[in-house]
Symmetry: D5
Subunit: 143 residues, 10 copies
Amino acid sequence: MLNGVPANIGPDLLKVLSEMGHGDELVIADGNFPSAALAQRLVRADGVGVPEMLESVLKLVPLDTYVESPLVLMATVEGDPEPPIWSVYQDIADRSQDESPVMSHIDRQEFYERAKRAYAVLATGEREVYANIIVKKGVVRSV
Amino acid sequence: MLNGVPANIGPDLLKVLSEMGHGDELVIADGNFPSAALAQRLVRADGVGVPEMLESVLKLVPLDTYVESPLVLMATVEGDPEPPIWSVYQDIADRSQDESPVMSHIDRQEFYERAKRAYAVLATGEREVYANIIVKKGVVRSV
Amino acid sequence: MLNGVPANIGPDLLKVLSEMGHGDELVIADGNFPSAALAQRLVRADGVGVPEMLESVLKLVPLDTYVESPLVLMATVEGDPEPPIWSVYQDIADRSQDESPVMSHIDRQEFYERAKRAYAVLATGEREVYANIIVKKGVVRSV
Amino acid sequence: MLNGVPANIGPDLLKVLSEMGHGDELVIADGNFPSAALAQRLVRADGVGVPEMLESVLKLVPLDTYVESPLVLMATVEGDPEPPIWSVYQDIADRSQDESPVMSHIDRQEFYERAKRAYAVLATGEREVYANIIVKKGVVRSV
Amino acid sequence: MLNGVPANIGPDLLKVLSEMGHGDELVIADGNFPSAALAQRLVRADGVGVPEMLESVLKLVPLDTYVESPLVLMATVEGDPEPPIWSVYQDIADRSQDESPVMSHIDRQEFYERAKRAYAVLATGEREVYANIIVKKGVVRSV
Amino acid sequence: MLNGVPANIGPDLLKVLSEMGHGDELVIADGNFPSAALAQRLVRADGVGVPEMLESVLKLVPLDTYVESPLVLMATVEGDPEPPIWSVYQDIADRSQDESPVMSHIDRQEFYERAKRAYAVLATGEREVYANIIVKKGVVRSV
Amino acid sequence: MLNGVPANIGPDLLKVLSEMGHGDELVIADGNFPSAALAQRLVRADGVGVPEMLESVLKLVPLDTYVESPLVLMATVEGDPEPPIWSVYQDIADRSQDESPVMSHIDRQEFYERAKRAYAVLATGEREVYANIIVKKGVVRSV
Amino acid sequence: MLNGVPANIGPDLLKVLSEMGHGDELVIADGNFPSAALAQRLVRADGVGVPEMLESVLKLVPLDTYVESPLVLMATVEGDPEPPIWSVYQDIADRSQDESPVMSHIDRQEFYERAKRAYAVLATGEREVYANIIVKKGVVRSV
Amino acid sequence: MLNGVPANIGPDLLKVLSEMGHGDELVIADGNFPSAALAQRLVRADGVGVPEMLESVLKLVPLDTYVESPLVLMATVEGDPEPPIWSVYQDIADRSQDESPVMSHIDRQEFYERAKRAYAVLATGEREVYANIIVKKGVVRSV
Amino acid sequence: MLNGVPANIGPDLLKVLSEMGHGDELVIADGNFPSAALAQRLVRADGVGVPEMLESVLKLVPLDTYVESPLVLMATVEGDPEPPIWSVYQDIADRSQDESPVMSHIDRQEFYERAKRAYAVLATGEREVYANIIVKKGVVRSV
């Protein structure tokens, strides 16, 4: 643990977040996501949910302001209701930024392909469905 | 995740717990314990407290009934009050066993030496002090 | 060994099963399958047959309910009788699920290609022919 | 699998048995033995019992005829009855050799120390207690 | 060394042969073959010729009876006489099988490509030319 | 880089600092210190001086308040003047803490022995002499 | 540190620069560049800026005189002013060479592709934008 | 060092030369060649020139007599004079063989591609330009 | 294979012999020696006997002339006849040296201890008993 | 190669020399020294003599001025003449330093022990006897 660093960001995750540069992506995955199969680099946080991890990550990682949507969700199948956890994510993102970031949605297969190219996957123990989220890192200005 | 396995027991911890035999010890360490310095094998659970992990571990791991005290705490310095988290541990242990297990206490230096010899250390993000606990595995009878 | 975990599921297999996510596949291979040549990750259970391993795996791993057939066999050459072990598999699968899962068949070459892409191969010592089976993991709901 | 090699002797065990020379020892351990903690080299056979493995090992590995007792058991605590599995071991050993080998007993702590110095530990899923056995390899004369 | 296993089959080769499944191929290469450059897995037997190794391998490894020719040689350039070692190979193969196996020939470049895809290459110190041979493993029935 | 983390604390150093627990020590070494020879874990910062690194480290790492002196210097040989950089260190330390920490001094050989036991050594490019300093980590309270 | 070698060129960077041959490229990257994601070989200098590193590198590494432009920058988006750090680079380059080297510009995506093929990336803590620069090594004549 | 083996052929180079088979290629590269960037296997001889190494290599390695030209040079740009070191190579080659081997030339880019496919690159400290040479190993007949 | 190097000295053994310096020892072990258990570095020659390997090794490796006995055997138990293979060794040694080297004998336990400290063990498939021999390397004078 | 760095100091040696700190020792060993057996870190320069390497090393590495003798030789046996190469070393050392460094001598066994504790051993192909020399690094003042 370190002063001012959220306690759920362990040493390995801290290293990965710090290594990431402008445009690199982190997938915060739920407990049923095939994280180990897809990840180039895998960090585990099995006992923690996505919202807690997202909140902590956004304290350390600025969002990419050069793209329309620096937060990307896995789209639901047509007809399915919007998962309630998405509004939790929007709230967390809004509180972390001066301007509310736009969250976009891509379908399952595209999400998998993007996870394969992501810098890292953070595998949580989140039980909610459609709870995976991609975070695109921006330029750090306030070190 | 697996059916019937607590979600906060990730793949690496599961492997370690399964590898342990009769008499092997696991240290569940708080966030300020020098886990990485002392551990022969290290598993991290940075976003989780010791009580949640202890509860999950005791679902999978039987306690050693051949020793007087299969649960060992780091003794407080004389005069200090008993840490409130200890009674939480006793409750968790009692609920997990037919007979209430006796928790013993060893001083800080002895605890460190025992952690070096333990099969593994599970590094949690627990914020409470004097929150480290050693779990001695017994004979598995109900696979 | 662990409480409630079948004894033939060793530490390495337990880790692999736990790492797998929704949609990942495990091949349970017989003793003549070219497991080491094809597997991305290889776990061995040389002294055990496929039925015992299938039964144990299905206690821990839910089947994928989003596909028509979460269990896949290697099709026999035209004219060959159905291997008797297949009905054993159907029985095991039926007992493990609320609804009887449909087993499908793909030809040898296609089976090999799928084994290469599978998350892992479990190499048993099964002596029966046509005894290989692919298990597609579903969403874990009852941790 | 190979012609004439028992199916439960997988590739890794076969390599270990072949590497062993005159006087090297193999521990065939039951499912509660702290195998991973003590072994210099560890091979797992989680789904198999000690008797099946002992029978197969003795087909390939000659016993050391230069020592009084090439098979060593972990002694029971005084007063405990002799574990029934020991006579199974004596039968297996007798059938594998021209002359009936003498099995000796050493206490638990001495057994642990010897396991640490052994060439390898074979971790089985054996459920019986006092089921660990040390096999001391002799000179191979019939390759 | 092990009872009943030819002495020139060392621990690493034994492991490789045992890992191979139905259809996997082993190249037994002469001393001038570019074994290290082409092999996915390399085992060395520098002081031994191909015939001795072939004879030992065929004691442990059944030939594939599902293909026309489970033994493949590197074809000579047109006009060259048949290398005398080939009839030695045919004799060894005949003695090892109930039915005389058919040996086929492929040209040098095709042989190289097949060596790259083979499960392993066994590099001998054979001095004869055109002495390389591919062995295709069949189904083990007599463990 | 990360929000709120000094830019000269790179990913590897961040991981090491986060892994350290209560009582673990970090040596911030000058450019002539035998860092690679002594360190259990080595992180390099060749282009940076000790004062900049000390200042950044103390923003993230609390000092151990359970010991008399959480900052330790390599004592000068008798007669030598106090190196001017020491008062720079005292200033940095004072600014980083509520209470001014006491810096102690140990001789060269003792310093070397302590560096060998330290959790890590941070090798800077500092050109000043007697510029090495040991930082003993305390309990993190403000994550 | 070594006589005559700039102190900010640590052992790992020195090795990489020395391994590079005629035509190999080094990317000196700013603190927001996705260095870890793109680099074939990564050396870190988190506490140092690009100009200091460029100046030191050019003392050891001759520029390629067989290409028009041995120094390559990431082009700004149309309309953006020229980053002031570029003239600093030109000054450093001019001072290091007999003849002023021409700096060229390639767009962001092309720069990324070239970084992937570069021999190494040196990740600095540079805070300026558009501060990345590629150095193409020439023929060493004055060892 | 070994009896009868040139002293400048160290253990690693000796191993590589011995592993090479008929048709495998070794690049003996000058000090400015991008050896580390291109080599599949790299052996260094930084303090030695190409002629000394070529002379020693040809004592151990027979040239391929099945190709027109078993020694290949990097062609000079049109108009450049022939590098004097080439006739040194021809002399060394002539002295090492019964029949004078033909040296051919390929252009820089083709040479790079061939170096990537070569079994190994030997990086010398040769200062001459156009001094790289490829040696194609033949059949060893005089062990 | 290489010109002038015996064919049974493969690449790994060649490297080991070349790495050895004055005073380093090689154990050439028979097929029942616990080579893998004792060796710091292990090279295998399973299909070859000790005499052939000794003869080849002595072509490349000079014996240490600064000690009384550069060849050491494992002494027989009192009363046992001298193994016939010893005179074979003496013949081989005599033919390889200008002066007949003295072979000494040490008991089994001392031999084991010396094998542990030896630079390497060469594990042959030799079937004779008391066939192990230690070779102490001398100063190479005729490279 | 790098500007101003002697060509016989390759990348690995350069890294090792740069990593060494005040008081660390480098052994420059002749071709018969048991370098691989004793070295903690080994760098090879098989084709080069000790004098050339010593000369190059002393251009980069300052000698330790805090000890009486920063250069240490292996003492000859009583009665042997002083090896002529020693005066070559003294000359090289004198030319490299403002003040002539004192060379001391320790006996063979002590030299071996010191080589084991040295930071690295540089194995040359030097043919002279008694040609090993230890270089103790001092404080770098002129980067």
